[in-house]
Amino acid sequence: MIDTTTDIRAGERAPLVLAHTGYHDVTEKVAGIVENKAPKWWLPAFLAAGGLATVCGGMICYLIATGVGVWGLNHPVGWAWDITNFVFWVGIGHAGTLISAILFLLRQKWRTSINRAAEAMTLFAVACAGIFPGIHVGRVWRAYYLAPIPNSNGIWPNFRSPLLWDVFAVGSYATVSLMFWYVGLIPDLATMRDRAKGKVRQIAYGFFALGWRGSNRQWRNYEMAYLLLAGLSTPLVLSVHTVVSFDFATSNVPGWHATIFPPYFVAGAVFGGFAMVLNLLIPLRKLFGLHALITNRHLENMAKVILAMCCIIGYAYSMEFFTAWYSGSPFEKFVFFNTRMHGWIAWAFWTMIFCNVVSPQLFWFKRFRQNPYTIFIVALFVNIGMWFERFVIIVSSLSRDFLISSWDQFHPTWVDILTFVGSFGVFLSLFLLFIRFVPMVAMSEVKGVIDVHPKASEPLHSEAMEVVK
């Protein structure tokens, strides 16, 4: 099949999926991935990811058994890789919600091919994000202190603290994302149920499909629920990273105390998240031959989003410098013009600039943003860059605060490193399980936007089906 979705023809809309893709083709292609035997690479990939996840689990046990001293934290750097990883993973989640909710409200129908996988990515990224604030509190068995219940002195958690806002924001976000994902899944689970062979599959898919039968009296409420969930998720996702940025912005630490943080963090989250979607979908598209559903146009559109976000955060970076200079505050100026630009952490700062601001500029050129390989590499750079962004913000500011005598640097320990690397194992093993057991493309949504010629493909199909029967 020749992909013509990126050709520009005057007065014509690009097709959302490749031509001659009928309803049944979509079902066969997508459900087939789950029903057929796992491809050869799946089990080794899952074992490798599972191994990494085990490393993460081991590091967490070691941390809990020993104490947070096993990390490289010191005074004044009390937050380092833990919170960097938290913000990194939460941010990645945001692209999934953006694709599923905001693009839905904007009637961007091309989202249907990629929203399921992107939403799953959101869930797993938020699960990874949840690990780090959970374990960095020191006495993990007291994590229930985060919940709004009074302690033995009758004192409640501080509702004026952005850290408590964060608990509510991330908690709501994880819950709503899960519900949104599941609601989107129900019709596809019904498809899996109706095709299932073997008792276990029939019962499992049948149970989770909740008896869905695709009647219009159901679709009516379903579509309304989906629209409302999209409408609710949109302000939610914007609020989540806003609240995450409040963790920093409401303090007076130089380099954190900035009103630009909420929009800047949200743009950065979308930026990093789209990069992760591309890093996952480009290999999957190739491995499962999903070129008819995830077309070059999908990749190009995402590359364009990355380019737009790159410009926004490039602007935010320069604005931070301007504000520091314009504030006249020596501490603010020092963090930006000294510590970050050529202090001990400058290598991380310049890595961030190269990855986030320079490398996506390739997408101004058609040949780069239409080539899956360059898109993949740039997306990889963006992911690296976005991790470094959080690292630079958190650690550079803490390491050089107001009192020179308390300055220190941060060096990660092997536990820091392995916990972070292991969190990728958690993420990837969840994602590999997802593609094995759940339809990774939203079939019912794709079918709704397919342009099937009623005369050309439908009767033909029905007859073909009769013959098969």
């Binding site: 501080n158 004026r160 709501s172 149920r193 909740l210 695709g214 219009n216 309304m224 969930l229 609020s239």
Partner: protein, 201 residues
């Protein structure tokens, strides 16, 4: 005849037919259509013929089907609105009780009385409003749809498996006042329905 005191002869006949259908354990008649468009037109025809208890089944929602079936707008919006208000009030109440009433904790010199004391409560109030609304959206959708329901007469049919793949079905229920096995069947056949089946309850 005397057991039906009100109504014309025609409605009496219908009641008898309905009773027979019910006694035969009939749920309804199912017909398959070739495309979403064909189903839409069939739904319009069935609606115009005066049927009320019928439903169409498709692998994806069909634009304009609500009008074609004569259905009103979903009530879900109101359920979600009440969920949102509940969440908002819960959050404000919780924070007021914890931080201003039960144990007024002064942090960073912020006021603990008056309107200004409530300003830091905005983020949590917002998040809980969204959370409760989302619960209402999902719970309300399932409730309005009668889910979970792991049994339905249509689901017993092997041919119906295509409703979640590429098939378009219309089912008229035997409960409908206008239902008559032969008349209803002919109506569906005349408007492009194929593979007509009687569904047992």
């Amino acid at each position: 005849m005397s057991q039906f005191p009100i109504g014309s002869r025609a409605t009496e006949a219908m009641r008898v037919a309905k009773k027979q259908a019910a006694s035969a354990g009939l749920y309804g008649i199912m017909a398959q259509f070739g495309s979403a468009d064909a189903l839409l037109h069939a739904a319009e025809t069935v609606r115009d013929a005066g049927y009320k208890k019928f439903d169409v089944y498709s692998p994806f929602p069909i634009h304009g089907m609500d009008d074609a079936m004569g259905l009103k707008r979903s009530l879900l919006g109101w359920i979600v609105l009440s969920g949102g208000i509940t969440g908002l009030l819960t959050a404000i109440g919780l924070q007021w009780y914890a931080a201003l009433f039960d144990y007024p904790l002064i942090t960073a010199g912020k006021p603990v009385t008056g309107f200004a004391a409530f300003i830091p409560f905005v983020p949590v109030a917002f998040e809980l409003m969204i959370l409760f609304s989302a619960f209402a959206a999902v719970g309300g959708m399932l409730m309005l749809n009668g889910l979970p329901a792991w049994y339905h007469p249509t689901l017993k049919r092997d041919s119906f498996a295509r409703a979640s793949d590429d098939g378009f079905f219309l089912v008229i229920e035997a409960d409908d006042n206008r239902f008559d096995v032969d008349v209803t069947k002919r109506l569906l056949e005349d408007h492009g329905g194929r593979g007509i089946e009687l569904l047992e309850d």
